[in-house]
Amino acid sequence: MSKSSREVLSFQGGIHPSGDGKQLSSGNPIQIAPLLDRYRVMISQNVGKPPKPVVKPGDTVKKYQLLAEADGFVSANLHSPTSGKIIGIVDVPGPMGTLVPAIEIEADGLDEAAETWPPIAWRDADPADLLKRVGDAGLVGMGGAAFPTRVKFSPPPEKKIDTLILNGAECEPYLTADHRLMLEHPEKVLEGAAISGRMLGVSNIYIGVEVNKEDAIQALGRRASEYGVKIATLKVQYPQGSEKQLIMAITGRAVPAGGLPMDAGCVVQNVGTAAAVTDAVVSGIPLVERVTTVTGEVVKNPGNWMLKIGTPVIKAIEFAGGVTAEPGKLILGGPMMGFAQKSFDVPVSKNTSGILLLPVSEALTYGSVGCIRCGRCLEACPMNLMPCLLGNAVEGEKFDIAAQNHVMDCIECGSCAYVCPAHRPLVQHMRRAKAEIRKRKK
């Protein structure tokens, strides 16, 4: 099952977006963002139950101090990104377009850190201690889904996990945050991988990187053996970084439909999360900042920033020098799976991997032409579905046909909509079908 390091691995289907925009920011080292006078930290930054706030208006907090406490198993702690005064809980526009509660902090400008946790000598530590630390630090999946890491690393005992895969594919066009992280802090990523392996009791650890990040592969490769991590080079193909496709490419195993990676004996973790694991375990600091790519053709100085959570998007754009032309679309995340925003006041959260501004000329992508049954979406679909048929079924509001044709297995990667010559909003159709089918099941 293990492949030689230079074999380029991949999966069935997928697309090769042309002009992936990574060159805009891939050469720019990670910069530390200047301190702002105000942060709005969204309370719900994880999948599952939002944490319970433990601070009151008027409280003074220090950097790394707990703001909200995990409420239940699938939940995550939230810490203050800086020192200052709590103003209160305010409504901010969330990344999904609705107003969401956030804790507003007025920074005192000192950025004074609270006492950090003691480092853990992880090589001999009890996995349970490591897990607890990861939970305390409020780690969530930083690739996009924001699933609490502690939960991910506590698989039910009947699932035998034998492989840990670090996702460094970063297949989304434009995004370079993971790339820079791997290039600049390879030891952090590798150490995080090893710690994660220790937590899971797994020694078979891969880190999958697309071949277009040659320098990162080199950087990781120099130290990989120290940490017992194998590097899998992956073909540049979208969605290489999707869990199921990544597992397929590296191990050749297929995650059963409707299943999770652990059903194939794997756990997949983003490289950013791995670095955060190292921070939590070795440095004893919680997750309060992350590397985010601020990019786009209209951004003056595209680059990668270490942003504190709660930074408004507009400030991040200002760090990058503002815009050179009027943007037509603001996207949080990558262009393939990110979410279009209707406000520049959205705060950065633990899973904001990118802030992308598209020019007006590229903002309108969808048309109203019907399907011409060219079948390209069938070739592109990494899940082997029939997107055109599903789209037609949804347009005719025949959701039972969509359900029969496995719309629930769609991973919404957008490959079908990318290749569609009729420019149909297929992902929107899929989401609607899923929403309607879920509603019906209730």
Binding site: G97, G328, K342, R432, A435
Partner: protein, 281 residues
């Protein structure tokens, strides 16, 4: 003569044989059917709207015959129709409770801020999945007509980007309530005339920013008629259990500052005739 004899004989024999075979088959494949189910099905409206909670009219008929549901559970049938079913089965008609749908939003094209550049499917469910929908208010009617398309009775019309219920056509089956991704549509007693045309639980100033006709939660109505209106957070609601229900005169007396408290007829008239209506004018 002979020919006729043979002809009669032949027909008779074949008829007899076929008759015997059919009779024999009928015995083997006998099934018990309840003719009452068919009778009730015929008396039902046949719209298969699912308002009763069953899969369709024949399914409902079965449940009526078996005594699981009273005939009045059908929201679509008029009182006379329900009585007819009850008479046919010789059972009690059950308490009739007629409902009507009302779209609790007055935010039409002119009143509520819309986001100009929505690029996608014209359907409320689809649109609500993109950044919460292309409307400034994330609780109001999206006006893309999913409810109007689904209504089996054609009772909902989209006017000025706002769904409006024609009360004379609505039977209260609740199909639209299930279809609406925003939960703007509510089922109310059929004789309720006055409604609060706002669905947003957000704070007053936030609503003001995006809409000209929100309920600001000023409590004016609740102060004037404490038993007829109640204020829940930042949104007033009609107390539909009040007897008597509020009337057009009450609306006059309250003098709602934003004009989101209206009678259904008035609301329909505003949307049909005065697209640029606002309370100030």
């Amino acid at each position: 003569m002979e020919t006729i004899l043979f002809a009669i004989l032949l027909m008779a024999v074949i008829g007899l044989v076929l008759g015997l075979v059919i009779g024999w088959f009928a015995k083997i494949f006998q099934i018990e059917s309840d003719s009452r189910v068919e009778l009730v099905t015929e008396l039902l409206p046949g719209a298969n709207c699912g308002g009763c909670g069953k899969a369709g009219c024949s399914d409902f008929a079965k449940s009526v015959v078996s005594g699981e549901n009273p005939p009045s559970k059908c929201p679509v049938s008029s009182k006379e129709q329900v009585t007819a079913i009850a008479l046919a089965l010789g059972i009690d008609a059950g308490e009739s409770f007629q409902q009507r749908a009302v779209v609790c939003c007055g935010g039409d094209r002119e009143q509520t801020k819309r986001l100009l550049n929505y690029n996608g499917v014209v359907d409320c469910v689809s649109a609500s999945l993109v950044a919460g929908g292309p409307k400034g208010c994330s609780y109001g009617c999206l006006g893309m007509g999913t409810c109007a398309r689904k209504c089996p009775f054609g009772a909902i019309e989209i006017i000025n980007n706002l769904a409006v219920v024609h009360r004379e056509l609505c039977v209260g089956c609740g199909t639209c309530v299930a279809a609406c991704p925003r939960g703007v549509i509510k089922l109310v007693p059929a004789d309720a005339e006055v409604h609060v045309y706002c669905n947003s639980p957000a704070k007053g100033p936030a609503k003001r920013q995006v809409c000209n006709v929100p309920c600001l939660g000023c409590r004016k109505c609740a102060r004037a008629f404490p038993n007829k209106f109640k204020v829940d957070g930042f949104k007033a609601q009609v107390n539909y259990e009040a007897k008597p229900l509020p009337t057009a005169d009450d609306v006059q007396a309250v003098g709602c500052p934003t004009g989101c408290l209206l009678t259904a007829d008035e609301h329909l008239k505003i949307e049909q005739n005065e697209p640029e209506w606002s309370p100030e004018k």
